[in-house]
Symmetry: C2
Subunit: 231 residues, 2 copies
């Protein structure tokens, strides 16, 4: 939708990858709509995933007992967070929609993307108490996970060897993004692109583009336990 | 138990932290038993969490379409993985019991520990097909998560605001450790140490030590969906 702002947080090492193709297709489709699209290309940025004392530009509030979360909360208020964190927070504040594009690693986020969440979603910026879930500080924004898997769809069903993929998304979609106030759109899951033909991969990219064409009209999921663990 | 080998994978930045106290107590108790204890202190090691091309010492098998998992599988077979990965794999091969000591970050692993799993548990070393779950390549070893949380226990119950903590452990205990063949011992969860008195913190450390005193006799959990999502 013209004028909307989109942030794509993209975590793949290779511009020739299927993840890169999905990211590129999203940039093109959303730009064609007149959206302003920003990409955080985490590997290309050599984004730091580790939560360390050097994230704080000022003095620590409790150097004897270092607590990253508490120091981040204080540093956020004092505008003393590391510039790379503040740059990502700026992008987030602008965004109406955030797309996370990544391959599933151990049924979860690749470490570089986990570190992005660990460092960027700090107290004061993304949530506060009692401002979380429906009143999280990023409310009004939407988030969608665009995931590629190694295994095929049937192994990620309730009766498959890996179990229902929704159970793996609970800590990310609900525990993190929803906690920060995001409304969650249904995940876009491209199963096992390495195991299918080039034609089928192109079909998956085309399906993503078709979805993005109407994404501004989509209703968010009901991000409660029932969606993840229900029948 | 005398002669047993234990690896503690420890992810906290600060030697003065409660996580450090739990780690130190475990080293002391297990050493007293006559175990050989090794600690991977991830922040002190400045452990690299990112999965990158530089993890592979030899030529890539498919430089046009970089797939980290496939390259890691090949490099493992050719003994061409980065020395820091091989060093952790050596420690794992030796270990009878692996303790993961960490604060819960966004209902999951801190990025530095997620990256340890992403990089160390590669195909060929930790699993292969069809060698996974009960026949995973690390079978015969036991793993236990020793976790600290920010929030108190009642918020992590089925009716609490965060939901049952077991649901958050499914990707880690089942999807990763059990997948690699580990038997899973019940998690040791120290709730909200920052919110309680010094005496209560000492009580939590003492409880961990008491448990470790008898840990070699413990039966593993039944690591199936029922444990995580059942009644």
């Amino acid at each position: 939708m013209a004028g909307k702002k989109v942030l794509i947080v993209y975590a793949h090492q290779d511009p020739g990858s299927f993840n890169a193709a999905l990211k590129k297709a999203a940039v093109e489709e959303l730009s064609k709509q007149g959206c302003l699209v920003t990409v955080s290309d985490l590997y290309a940025m050599d984004f730091e995933p580790r939560t360390m004392k050097k994230d704080f530009m000022g003095p620590l509030s409790d150097p004897e007992h270092f607590n990253y979360a508490l120091e981040a909360y204080q540093a956020y208020q004092q505008k003393a967070l590391s510039p790379d964190i503040m740059a990502e927070q700026e992008k987030l504040l602008e965004a109406d929609l955030v797309i996370f594009q990544f391959p599933l690693y151990w049924y979860s986020l690749p470490a570089i993307l986990k570190g992005w969440m660990d460092r960027v979603f700090c107290q004061g910026f993304a949530f506060n108490f009692p401002k979380y879930f429906e009143s999280g500080l990023l409310k009004g924004k939407r988030a969608v996970l665009s995931i590629t898997t190694g295994g095929p769809a049937n192994t990620y069903s309730k009766t498959g060897s890996r179990g229902d993929i929704r159970c793996y998304l609970w800590p990310i979609q609900h525990g993190t993004l929803h906690f920060c106030g995001f409304q969650i759109l249904a995940p876009q899951i491209s199963f096992a692109p390495d195991r299918v033909s080039q034609e089928e991969r192109e079909g998956m990219v085309a399906a993503w583009v078709r979805r993005l064409a109407a994404i501004w009209e989509e209703a968010p999921i009901d991000c409660t336990a029932a969606w993840y663990f229900g029948q």
